[in-house]
Symmetry: C2
Subunit: 146 residues, 2 copies
Amino acid sequence: MKEFSEYLVELKNLIKKRGLKHSAQRELILKILFHAKEHLSPEDIYNQVKKINPAIGLATVYRTLSFLEKEGMVDSVSFGAEGKRYELNRGEHHDHIICLECGKIIEFYNEELERLQEKIATGCGFKLITHQLNLYGLCKECQKDD
Amino acid sequence: MKEFSEYLVELKNLIKKRGLKHSAQRELILKILFHAKEHLSPEDIYNQVKKINPAIGLATVYRTLSFLEKEGMVDSVSFGAEGKRYELNRGEHHDHIICLECGKIIEFYNEELERLQEKIATGCGFKLITHQLNLYGLCKECQKDD
DNA sequence: TTATGTGCAAACTCTTTGCATTACC
DNA sequence: GGTAATGCAAAGAGTTTGCACATAA
């Protein structure tokens, strides 16, 4: 598993390559994403960031997330209505299965599924670039409650 | 292929069952969805509705779409960032493949894919209720432009 | 030194809500 | 006649933008 320092180097290289400047804010946001155990909303990130540096602005969080997403260092996912959430791109693509009752999210990866999608896209004349698949259902615990 | 009158009957039955009241607005919005060739945003629907009845309010469009979606008569999909879009539920589930260049959307259905998703959900201990799969890529025409 | 990044506040977009009025049953 | 639906406008939530100032290179 990649360490934070490796992601940091990646970020710094990226910034240099684009002729931009490093900042403590970007590093901090990257660190929060690295340590996140779940998918974070901009607001979530903002709240965590403020604990360490109360002066930071929400706009910086949005700008940084847009930047990181455009550069491919983070991925965004949206479940249902509640806006986009972000996760660090750890190089292992996965999809999500979401419990409609309790909101629990499980990540999964299925090789066969990936191949099938590729086949479908090709069949439609498309060159597949990416995809988002969300399965919605009831988790084991919430099935009992009915 | 089901005719509009059949959807209208379905809507009226639904309204009766819930102890609610029919309205020309709801009927009009249903009709617009029925004739739509693509996925419509609330704003799209509002603009079409206004041509026929300029007095109608955007809030009514939102309220009607929420109602129809909750009752399963329409489905919503979201592609990328641009908010939810709506389509009439014609009883044939399908997924979408979207061209990142020109925005073209193709609908497809794949039995094997459906089965596989069911299997994955079960494997995670979930009871699958629904899903949304969007494939993103370049369509045949846009591949040439590169 | 100079261009980029930031914080703040205002602006914007999309959606929801409260309320008086209208329309269905 | 009574209740639900509507239109309007205002309020909310989430996100973006302009600008003066701070800061990395």
